[in-house]
Symmetry: D2
Subunit: 367 residues, 4 copies
């Protein structure tokens, strides 16, 4: 019921403010017997970290995870796994004027209206700092999915502003500073970002995440649909304004003959559905895309009001990440992994006894 908890059978509760003493999470429901060490969180936290390249903002946290519980002699025990990161880079004075001003595009005004009080330091609870713990929890989910079911989850940036990839090279994604799937475009993108930063402005992005190997049958009908839960998970990420499954909004202009994925004994002939029908996985890749709005904290001054209701002007000094969508890739991966693991556990609770059903159609076959 708590709005700081995500998931049903695998539940993640996060806590912490951007510039408070610490952030952390409690991951509950992970099956016993999964090997897990603190060092395993580092890779994905690095991928998410601000400061990954000059194109994302400069804050740099060690972000060393401490495992406080739930692991004994390097193996999960089935009890809740608590993870903690101390905030070391909390420069409160940078944010002094935010206390009295509502930054456009930020949650300052809405938290104020809701609670009548807020922690303004670095955005407090509404800061993207919270997503660090989603990434950490996602590391556990990714590992369990891979170990137990061979499911993999991989994201990439599929649009920055008006720029789209001119090709798709899976190997390029992780070597690029932008999780961009086409190496040849990197210099062009770097110039684009540099120009943007100089102008003091920002731009939106589109991120796509794909899960491979999801067994048919995962997911639940009606209000527990796999796509419904993915939509909630993705829309809960800071700055997301839209979510698509498979062809998403392109389906509006499609014909039924075009969209429906025909089947043969050799496999589905297409995957417009993005791997989900009726809320349940088909066994094809699960494909999810999100729209990220442009960073709201920019150098170009913006009009606002202060707590007394007077007109004021807001300028964000210091750190400035011209495209927040880029470093959201590991966050989106984490959320998809968490949804899938939760659904996997729910599936085996209710349908663990269901005998293997023939025929199981293989993944997409392009004729």
């Amino acid at each position: 019921m708590s709005s700081n908890t995500f998931g049903k059978l695998l539940s993640v509760t996060t806590f912490g403010e951007s510039h408070g003493p610490a952030i952390g999470c409690v991951v509950d429901g992970c099956p016993p017997g999964l090997p897990l060490e603190a060092s395993e969180f580092r890779a994905d936290l690095e991928r998410r970290a601000t400061g990954r390249s000059r194109h994302t903002s400069q804050r740099r946290e060690a972000d060393d995870i401490e495992i406080l519980s739930g692991v004994y002699e390097g193996v999960t025990t089935g009890t809740p796994i608590a993870l903690l990161i101390r905030n070391t880079d909390a420069r409160s004075k940078d944010y002094g004027n935010i206390l009295d001003t509502f930054r456009p595009g930020h949650a300052d005004y809405t938290y104020w209206q809701k609670y009548g009080v807020r922690d303004p330091r670095g955005g407090g609870r509404s800061s993207a700092r919270e997503t660090t713990m989603r990434v950490a929890a996602g590391v556990i989910a990714k590992k369990w999915l891979a170990h137990r079911y061979g499911v993999t989850v991989q994201g990439h940036v599929s649009q920055v502003g008006e720029v789209t990839p001119r090709g798709f090279e899976p190997a390029a994604i992780e070597t690029s500073p932008f999780f961009w799937p086409f190496a040849e475009q990197i210099p062009e993108l770097e110039a684009y970002m540099d120009a943007l930063r100089k102008s003091g402005d920002s731009v939106g992005a589109r991120v796509t995440v794909v899960a491979d190997g999801v067994p048919p049958g995962w997911g639940e009908p009606i209000y527990g649909k796999l796509d419904g839960e993915i939509a909630a998970a993705m829309m809960s990420i800071n700055a997301v304004k839209g979510v698509e499954i498979g062809d998403g909004f392109d389906a509006v202009a499609q014909r039924g003959t075009q969209h429906r994925d025909e089947m043969t004994a050799q496999g589905f002939l297409s995957n417009h559905a993005g791997g989900i029908l009726g809320g349940i996985a088909t066994g094809q890749p699960v494909v999810v895309s999100m729209a990220f709005k442009p960073t709201s904290s920019i150098l170009v001054p913006g009009r606002s009001v202060d707590r007394a209701g007077h007109a004021t002007e807001v300028v964000t000094k210091g750190r400035h990440d011209p495209c927040v969508g880029i470093r959201a890739v590991p966050i989106a991966e984490a959320m998809l992994a968490l949804v899938l693991m939760d659904q996997a556990l729910r599936h085996r609770a209710q349908c663990g006894d269901v005998a293997a059903v023939a025929p199981r159609i293989p993944g997409t076959v392009q004729e």
Copy 2:
């Protein structure tokens, strides 16, 4: 936890198969004292009904709601409100061959993989028949929101195939057979739909729903975000493949200077955010759009497999609705109303004591 239950403090549990004896729902958590009669459900059920015009499918149910509990002498008592509709138009024999065949684009294959058994009559539980009860529950939520807070919820079709409205006339929406906001285009749309039906094909649609009067502060941070719950609600509607809040995917190509909604003491200067920041309502209109895929049940034959794994061909005979998105308008309204009422109850639980906070910025002011 149940996947047939939606909402936390206002919870709706639906049950029933398309061609079973009945469909129904239990609405739990409605405050006492709301006047409610069975006749009040008729209008929205009619709006949703198949058979509304020649452009939606021909099945026609009386769909008379019976209130089984929770209302005494015309007023809600705070106990669960159970609603029931008997299925009267259950022509099982029409669907005989569906038992052994997996219709492309339908949930036949995925239910089979999940459960190893399914009720094939009319699509069983995966039929859009279930959404009748969402509309019914939504009637209660809409009424409570209007009575208690003056919140209104209104949807319209904002795209059919490649056709978009050339103007916006609120009064046109309810008089059109398509929930279309521009009267002048109706003949054109009718011709479009007739051609589509003749070709045996179908097309997608875009639906937009707007809630006016939502008080700033409704919604919860992180995993209980107002937009996150809206996304889950909308994606749970049959045939939805994408959800947007405010500018949605248009934000990808926007600049920060363009997207952020500046504020003055006289009001917000724009509403790109769609009325939500940090998961909490700003007080501006809440704007949500969805992509509906084209109807999967079409006359044009499609390749598939049967339960024995043999290649087969599927043709949907009889009823054929060339654009399922159209009659989804009242369903989408209902889901938005349910999310808002749930969030309203949650807000007053946690923040009912918060003193009115100044300044409260008025709704959008276009300069």
Copy 3:
């Protein structure tokens, strides 16, 4: 979250007022493939029925269950199972004065304070009529537990007023009008009840339920403890004022050497714990007892106030069941079965992969 829903993975939502049009429930989460027919509910509903003997109250309902959904061709499909009973014996006029008077020992006053409105006919929602649907849901849980795991659940009356069984004959329980485990005492009990009825008074009872065959490992630590959930389930039954696991309150005066259940490779040497340690089943019989208060509706007049705050006197005319605890036996069985099935599903979600662990100690061995 709904207070009319019980259970996490197997969830039961009930609805309906004592004298409204109908009562019903939605059972969600039952695995697919369980054979189920409407006739199977009859036996337990009869066991619970008022009118079972002259010693329980005279109301007589046909209580014919209709299965509205979730079952196809006699087998559960994994979708929600809705059950409905029409109220046929709703004599509203009997209860006219209850509208303005708060009966001592009843929920009239508290519902009024909470909701400001209530359905007074027959106690409305607070009537034990609601427990009919618990029994119905329990039939499904009992059947699944027996089919899938060989678990059986059986209750009996272990005290009426000051009378306790002088022996324990399992076979006597179901042949007795009192679920009493010692046949020889029946005439004595009948005389006791007749005298009570003549005096216009009532008496409390103690009920004990035992589940045999529960596998070690079912249950969850901390706030999801098997005994914690049993306690909630039992205390939620009308008129229950106390719950015990195993030795219960007798443990207060016991010594540690006496209470702890020692183990040998041949089995536990005793079962003071009632089959649960740390919230998790030991594999021994799960033993639960409840205290039922005496019936509040009695012929002896009682002082009360009316809605205007004036002193008044309450006399219950007509039906009068001198010991409500007796017919609670099948209700208590149902609640225990529902808790166990829910825990079974949760266990296989989280620990379904855990390899069989040696040594598994057999059930109780008395040296």
Copy 4:
């Protein structure tokens, strides 16, 4: 859904093993604006602490709480409040042999059967160490209840072994080493406990907690009953084997004329019900009692088996608390406070609009 989370609108998630790096909790749903400082936790943690007197075990933790989030400038902000205590007294070597042996009366065997792995140090997750965080969370609930509604919660020991209080002096409770309500009996009790300790044995206890000032109307019907949730809360405390509301098991032998609490305009004439009717508070004191089993860790050797299935003998060396029920008093208070705060929030969500209802009957009046 998580079994390490308690409560619906006020939810508490605890984590940590007895001898792991730390224990902690996340309290979510506390309204904003409540003053809160780390020093406020000290008093109740001391009351619970082992080492309170020579009659409870010798382990001594500083138990300094660190507030990690949710509080800004000494006031709650409405975001999750995380509390942390580092474990400083983790002497792992003391517990070496527990790894391979199942201590009678402990959860060693059941955790092993459930998870196939466990953290044996100090009992791991099943240790009463976890209850430290319940007490901490309870401090917040107690404070909010007192500030906002004037509700107070106070517990005492109402039986130790066969000894019961010969009088009731509220002032004596907190000055006694046993939370005992009658000062004159303290020397007698000390002798009793000393003799018990010398014999190497232990004894059970009965604890009673009373909440004063609970407004009529708090609580929810059916499965969310105030008494049902209290029962679950109390039964979830380590070593509890029984829970009673009001007269509890004494009601079994009572007559209806005796048990029902008659009402006059001046007040209820008795409180056999313990302040709850139909799951909803009457406005009288809420009275709850629990049975605690005798400590399982005792010096007298007990028979058991080891992981290889061989017979062995268990002796608990070192710390030995002959009556665990005594220091459970603040734990039971905390659980009752948490249930009440949760119910208070739920009540104002659903019934916050209900106009004040006349007549409101005052608390108990003894004629």
